[in-house]
């Protein structure tokens, strides 16, 4: 699988969460995602970007356009050097929050994606990668 195009942007504050939504929307439209597919990946991106701002001290998002020969997709990688997540399974559970959110961010983003990977170590930060393929349910 190759990335045909990629870009990395900083995500430090709430204005940049909005910029992330617009950037992901633009790329999803370019790749020919349906409106529902666009909305799902933009919403997932918004959740993960906000998580980085609220809990990870800010970080970066890398967006990649994918083409594996038969289908096209978008991969988003969120990386921060924040405190990390001590218990990932707990963090993925709906309703779990260490802040004042609803605790839907991680689990919700996972449900809105076709592929979801998370790596985190206390003190070393968190990396979340999600992928959505065009035409996948």
């Amino acid at each position: 699988m190759t990335a045909t195009k990629s870009e990395t942007v900083p995500v430090r504050g709430s204005a940049e969460v909005v910029s992330v939504r617009h950037l992901v929307r633009r790329w999803a439209v370019e790749l020919g995602f349906t409106l529902v597919e666009q909305t799902k990946i933009v919403t997932a991106a918004s959740e993960l970007a906000r998580n980085m701002v609220d809990y990870g001290l800010g970080g970066t998002m890398t967006i990649e356009a994918l083409d594996n020969g038969t289908r096209k997709g978008l991969r988003l990688i969120f990386e921060d050097r924040g405190p990390g997540i001590p218990d990932i399974n707990q963090a993925l559970r709906d309703g779990f929050t260490s802040g004042n959110g609803m605790g839907l961010g991680l689990g919700g983003a996972k449900r809105l994606s076709n592929e979801f990977e998370i790596r985190s170590a206390p003190g070393e930060g968190t990396r979340v990668a999600i992928t959505r393929w065009r035409g996948a349910s």
Binding site: S14, A15, V17, V18, R21, H22, R25, L35, V36, Q38, T39, K40, V42, T43, S46, E47, R50, D94, G101, M102, L104, G105, G107, G108, R111, L112
Partner: protein, 131 residues
């Protein structure tokens, strides 16, 4: 920082969200709305979100909290015009917006609110024009 305008029409407050709000703008709207409900003794709030192509958990929570606060302040809230793709995504995200009344469009939302306002007892307004 942007502020979303709130229009007063009789016992109603009307809001049409036309921009992709950052979190602070969303919180300001919630604060402004609750303040205006009290100031105008509003009985109903209509929030048009037909221009929003994304409602994430933060905006969704703001809408649900606004409706809950309005209810405590004796006003009903109706959210109108949610795009189908947004509704599909919200449910998959895990947000059902329980407790938030919704209507397909502004017209139906207004009908709903009129019903609520008609049931409400008449009371003097504090607009300052009747003193």
């Amino acid at each position: 920082m942007e502020r979303i305008p709130i229009l007063k029409m009789g016992k109603f407050l009307l809001v049409s969200i036309q921009v992709d709000m950052d979190d602070r703008t969303a919180m300001n709207l919630q604060d402004d709305l609750t303040a205006q409900i009290v100031k105008h003794r509003a009985k109903a709030v209509l929030i048009d979100i037909s221009s929003l192509d994304v409602v994430d958990s933060f905006i969704g929570r703001m809408l649900a909290n606004t409706a809950a606060m309005a209810r405590i302040l004796d006003a009903e809230t109706v959210v109108v015009g949610m795009q189908p793709s947004v509704a599909i995504t919200l449910v998959e995200l895990g947000l059902s917006l329980k407790g938030v009344r919704s209507a397909l469009n502004v017209e139906r939302g207004m009908e709903m609110l009129r019903g609520i306002a008609e049931d409400a007892p008449e009371e003097p307004t504090d607009d300052g024009d009747e003193k």
